[in-house]
Structures are given as C-alpha cells and as structure tokens.
C-alpha cells in the first residue's frame, strides 16, 4: 500500500519538502525522464487513436461537414454483409498466415535441429528470404504466378493436371486460399528462424536423458522441444496473427478484394471506405473494431503462452 501511495501522491505533495520515498531521489523528477516518450506516444499514437474513435461516431465524407450518428457506424460493421464478410475472410487468413506457418515452422525446425544437415545455413536463408522482400514485390510476383497463362497453371498442365488449372485469383472458391498461400510462404521462414533459435537453447542433456529413458523422436518433440519453445511459439503466433488480421498489401495488389468481394479484408475495407468511397465514419469504426480484435487476440495468445512457462 505504501508504494502505491508514493506513486499516487506526488502531485498532492508538491511543494512540501517532506520526502517519503527512498532518500536522495526526488520522485517527481522521474516523470520528467519519461516525459519525451509520453509526449511522442501521446502525439503520434494516443491522439490519432482518440480522433479515430471520434470520427467513427460521425457520418463524414472526408471533405465537408459531418453529422453525428452515434454508434450506427459500428452497427454497419456488424450488419453490412460486405464489412462482416471482410472479418470472416480475415479469420480464414489466420489459418494460412498463422496456423500453417507455425506448424510447418515447428516441423522444419525440429527436423533441422535434430539432423546434422549439410548446408543448414543455406536452407535457413532460403526459407527466411521471403521475409525480407517487400510485400508489394511479393504480391506482384505471385499475381503473375497465378495468372491463367502463368507458371503455376503451366506446371499443372505439364504434369497432366489440366483440370486443376484455373485463374486462381479470379476463381470464387480459390481466390482467398491463393492469397493465403502467399502469406504461408512469407510467414513460414519467420517461424522457422524463431523456433530454431529457441531449440538451440535446449540443453542437449535433456534429450540424452530422454533417450536413455527410451523416448523416440515423437516423444522427444512433444515432451521436450515443444514445451521449451513455448515462448517463441507465443511470439510467432502474435506476429503472424497480427499479420493476418492487418493484411492489406497482398489483397490490394493481387485482387483489389475481388472477384466480387471474395477477398476483401478489414484493412482493405478501411482504405476503400475512407479514401475511395468517402465513408470516413464507417472506415474508422471498422479500424477501431479491427484494433480491438487484434488487441484481444494478442492478449489471449500471450496469456496462454505465459501460463505454460510457470
């Protein structure tokens, strides 16, 4: 209780020479130290956030006067099929951006850290490479791969799978998975590198002991490797889930949300509503909801990750 009072009362005790903290250090000065950071934070994060929240209560075309509409923009986010659909698509993308890369990354890392592999560095670099290429470049390259007469279909036809060849990004069933696969391609390397780092930390003795007890590779993986990289798992999931939820570049470049509205995602709808359709209120409401979803997901993932470490 004492410590709480110390933090809480500096303003109240201002001007009095009485010091209740540890001797030699005026507590109020501490606030000065963090002031620059607080200012920057308030100016570039807090203020825009509050303004965004405020805009979401108005109907505004971004140019003229605005009208107060209360929560009806939020209502639109949950009731308009197009906007709601965007969130559904984002959930599907989480599978491709987070679930598959994390699974693949774990498998690859477990294999790579066990086997004495020639050219391990090479594989690591190759798998990590997609991470360092700008997403727009990635999107343009994959758009060409997916073209009706593009390399992917050429290969399918070459091996006799003509019936599978299709305009991937123009196909109502396959457009969203096609975008998702690119996310998998990009995300796997990141997960792999994180898990490799985590696994390198595991003491060899643990495995030796396990082996002496008669554990096979599977048992080792589930009893030693997986629990040991729980922290990395949480980090990887946090990063990839956020990446899935805020996907914009891939959709913008590859499909513009099409065909129809099959690949729209929340961020794309925010952009579309704010800058193209002139519905700033709807766009900001969408952005706030998206922020809340990202925040909630992050909290859940980290809770789960931490619980395991205790």
């Amino acid at each position: 209780m004492t410590s709480a009072q110390q933090v809480a009362t500096p303003v109240a005790t201002a001007g009095t020479p009485r010091r209740r903290g540890r001797p030699g250090e005026p507590r109020r000065v501490a606030y000065l130290y963090i002031l620059p950071a607080v200012l920057v934070f308030a100016l570039f994060i807090l203020y825009p956030l509050i303004r965004t929240a405020q805009f979401s209560l108005y109907e505004w075309n971004g140019l003229g006067a605005s009208t107060w509409v209360g929560l009806s923009n939020y209502q639109a986010v949950f009731t308009e099929p197009q906007l709601r659909g965007a969130f559904v698509h984002a959930l599907v993308l989480i599978v491709f951006y987070a679930v598959i890369p994390v699974t693949l990354g774990l498998l690859l890392a477990a294999t790579m850290s066990r086997a004495v592999l020639r050219g391990l560095g090479f594989f690591r670099v190759v798998l990590f490479l997609p991470q360092v290429i700008p997403m727009v470049v990635v999107a343009i390259a994959w758009r060409q791969i997916y073209e009706p007469q593009g390399p992917l279909n050429d290969v399918l036809r070459f091996v006799g799978l003509d019936s599978l060849a299709r305009p991937w990004l123009g196909d109502y069933t396959w457009a969203l998975p096609s975008v998702g696969i690119v996310g998998t391609w990009v995300g796997t390397g990141l997960c792999l590198v994180l898990f490799l780092a985590g696994m390198a930390r595991i003491p060899r003795e643990l495995y030796e002991a396990a082996r002496l007890d008669g554990a096979g590779p599977l048992r080792e993986f589930f009893s030693i490797t997986l629990p040991s990289v729980r922290g990395e798992l949480a980090v990887a999931l946090t990063l990839t889930v956020i990446a899935a939820l805020k996907t914009f570049d891939l959709v913008y470049v590859m499909t513009s949300g099409g065909p129809g509205t099959e690949t729209t995602v929340p961020s794309y709808q925010v952009y579309n509503n704010a800058f193209l359709l002139g519905r700033v209120g709807t766009a900001t409401a969408l952005a706030i909801v998206l922020t809340a979803v990202v925040f909630a997901m992050t909290v859940v993932i980290n809770r789960v990750g931490e619980r395991g470490q205790r």
Binding site: T9, S66, P259, G260
Partner: protein
C-alpha cells in the same frame, strides 16, 4: 480509497480530453475558401504574374500521355519563364486516393486532374474545394473553344447535387471513347468485315471461336474494366437517353427495364459461350491488352487511351470501330472526356493555374496531343493522322456528329463504382443471375435518385 481516487482522476482526465477533442467535429469548418473570379479580375497575361511555382498533379502516366504533357510543360515554361512547374505524376488510382486529403489541406496543389464523376468531382464541388471556372472561361474564351456537350461533363450545380449543368469545374485535354479494337489480320483470315451490328458481331465471335481464336480478350482483375465491358453490351440494347439517365444518376430510369435485362442476359450468354478469354476475372487489364497486342484475341473492348500503346505494339494490324449497333440501331459508345484539369479552391496561384489550363487546352496543345498518339477533345478534325489514330478520330467525329456518346455507368452515385464493379464481376463470374445483378444496381440507383 486511494485506489478509487486514482482511477477516477484518470477517467476524469480521459473524459476531459475526449470532450476537448469532441468539441471540434470532423470537417466542421465549412469556410468558402477563395471566391470565384469574374472575367474582369482575371489577369490573362501569365508573364505579368511575377514569380510563381505552379504545383500540378496529373495522372498522365501512359506512354503517349507522359510524352505530351512533358512537352507542353516545357513549352509553357519557355513561354512564361517566370512560372516554374512542379509536376507530381501518379497513376489514376493513386491520384484518386491522395487528392481528397490534398484538396482539403491549406497547402493545396494549384492544378489537379479530378475525375469528373460524382464520386470525385461531385464531392469536391459539394464541399467547395474546387474553384468554379466560369470567370476564367469568359476571359479566355473557353465557352467558344469547348462545345456544350464537353463542358456539361465537368459541370455541376454549386451544391454538387446536379451533374451536367451549372458551373464549369474543369477542362479536359483529350476525348475518350470505349470502342472495339480488332485484329485486322485475324479478321481478314476469318473473311469478315469489322462488325457494325450486334448480329454481325455475334457471328464474328462465333466464327472466331470456331477457328480456335480467342474471340474477346479481356482482363477484369482490376474490376473497372468490367464497367467498360458491360457498358459496351448495354449500349447495344438500350437507347441513349436511358443510359444517360442511369449514368448521370438522374431520376426517371430503371435498371430493371427490359433492355437492361436483355443486356445482362446477353453478357452471361457470351460468357457461357466462351466468347471471352478464359479466366478473365484473374487477368489484369494491362496483361489483357498486352496479350491482345501480341496477337491473342480477335477483339478487345478498350478505350482510346490505348491508341499510342497499341499502335506502337501492333502497327497497321489493329483497327478501331464504334460499338456495334443493336436494338436502338445506333452505334452508341461509352465515353466522354479524359480526366479534367481543375483548380483547387485552396490554391494560392489560381490565375497562373488558369493560364496553364488555357495553355494545355489550346489549339497548339491539341496538335501536341495528336502527335503523341492521343485523341484531342476538340479540333480532332483539323489534325492530320493515319492508321489506327485516323480510325479513332473518325469514330470520335461520328460519335460527336450523331450524338452517340453515353457516360460511364459509375458516375451515377458516389459509391456506384464499388457497387457496379463487384456486381459485374459477380455477374460475369456466374455468381449472380442477371436478375440479382440488376436488383443490386437498381437498389442503389433508386436510393440515390429517390425515384
């Protein structure tokens, strides 16, 4: 107790901050920046304006367009050494998204290309962000230079509610129509003439298909191309007045009318017959016309902005005709003007901006436009051209004389672009029936026009 006080103080502070911010609603200050000049005030001699830096935002990024605007800019700077042009060039899409913020800012550009439909120019006018040009038009004689039909496409009432009349807000440099490009060699091989009627056209498509050719090359992954394709078909079924009412968002028409049903059904039947290239919803616009230029496809529905690109890729192999005539018996063609040049209300060099617009739309400029392979909006008949360009000029002249021009369908309402692009993709992708397609469009049209 302390804990309680602490929390409530914090909430109090947050609430105070929120109230402080909420006091100023977004976009609340609707000040009328810059009053419209009258003809008497206008300084038409740009060399008398002193040193001016003119910031110009354009979207002339295609082959022929960059060339001509750069030539004109250089010529303008030579004629008026006191004026420096700062050119900011972006793709149509990029310009469209950044213009909104730029116009409402204090430090707005001096000349911008603002798309003339309701989603852009209409909203800017309604928010008093563009300068009405009537005063300049009088001073420079633009009313004589540009026919009524051209000016109407960039005219709005002061509140932005009525499109097609009122004050002038921009001047275009080029004309554009979305007609039918065809591959001459392939059509000759099929023993066919360029189609003049829907019947001819459908026969040609069937013949092309039978010969193993791609009848219509098409790419719709940037969905706006679909507007052109559907408009092209609609033009063969509806009469000009109906399409104009729908396009300008005037009350009095219906998307559910018989002719529109026929157009939508024909679109689907052409898709089902395989008249369009396979997988068009997954092909981008650029790769579609490039593929056509490489000899894949007999026909391509495209705008005259591709003339320079197609000429340099195909030479004499490519031809251009107006949309085939259908039930109406007229070769109605979608089109109008290229994106007009306007002056932001917040520009601080409006006189110089007007001088610039005058310069790039003058007779000499029209010649420069022609030389760069494009279609000048006026005086096209006074230019000397050959090949594809000559065919395009003839088509444009005929469209003007016979009153065949109909507007783009996405002009209709502020969000019609989004609605119709997705709707056409769904229709052509087999995801919605003609009935559902038309109901989608009708719902927004009636909501906006109140009819």
């Amino acid at each position: 107790m302390t804990l309680f006080t602490r929390t409530s103080t914090r909430w109090g502070a947050a609430a105070a901050a929120a109230l402080l911010i909420a006091a100023c609603a977004p976009g609340g200050d609707d000040d009328d920046a810059g009053d419209a000049p009258t003809a008497g005030d206008v300084q038409t001699d740009a060399s008398e304006l002193g040193d001016v830096t003119l910031t110009v935002w354009d979207q002339e990024v295609r082959e022929g367009q960059t060339e001509q605007i750069e030539a004109l800019n250089t010529a303008f700077e030579e004629a008026y050494p006191n004026i420096t042009i700062e050119r900011v060039s972006r793709s149509t899409d990029d310009l469209r998204t950044t213009l909104r913020l730029a116009l409402s800012g204090e430090d707005a550009p001096d000349v911008v290309q603002a798309n003339n439909g309701r989603p852009e120019m209409g909203q800017y006018v309604a928010s008093s962000l563009l300068t009405p040009l009537d005063g300049y038009a009088e001073a420079y004689g633009w009313f004589d230079r540009f026919p009524e039909s051209v000016r109407a496409l960039a005219s709005y009432s002061e509140d932005g509610a009525t499109y097609g009349e009122g004050e002038l807000y921009g001047l275009p440099q080029m004309g554009e129509i979305v007609g039918l490009y065809y591959n001459k060699t392939k059509l000759d091989a099929l023993g066919l003439e360029p189609p003049a009627t829907t019947e001819d056209f459908e026969a040609a498509l069937a013949a092309a298909q039978a010969a193993g050719e791609i009848p219509i090359q098409f790419g719709n992954s940037e969905p706006w191309a679909g507007i052109h394709e559907f408009g092209f078909i609609q033009n063969q079924f509806s009469d000009a007045e109906t399409i104009r009412n729908l396009g300008f968002g005037r009350p009095g028409s219906s998307w559910m009318s018989e002719d529109n049903v026929a157009a939508a059904e024909t679109t689907v039947s052409w898709v089902d017959s395989g008249f369009f290239v396979d997988g068009f919803n997954g092909v981008s616009y650029d790769s579609a016309w490039q593929s056509f230029a490489q000899g894949n496809g007999v026909f391509f529905v495209g705008g005259t902005w591709l003339v320079a690109d197609l000429t340099s890729a195909m030479g004499d192999e490519v031809g251009f005709v107006l949309t085939p005539a259908g039930a109406s018996g007229q070769n109605l063609v979608t089109g109008g003007i290229s994106i007009p040049w306007a002056i932001p209300a917040n520009s601080d060099a409006q006189d110089a901006a007007a001088a610039y617009i005058d310069f790039i739309t003058s007779s000499e400029a029209m010649t420069a436009v022609t030389e760069a392979g494009n279609l000048p909006v006026i005086e096209a008949d006074q230019q000397t051209t050959e090949g594809l360009q000559a065919e395009v000029f003839d088509a444009w002249a005929q469209a003007g004389e016979d009153d065949l021009l109909v507007p783009y369908l996405d002009y209709a309402t502020e969000t019609f672009y989004d609605t119709i692009t997705a709707a056409v993709q769904n229709l052509m992708g087999g995801q919605s029936t003609p009935q559902q397609f038309l109901e989608t469009l009708e719902a927004e049209y009636t909501a906006a026009t109140g009819s």
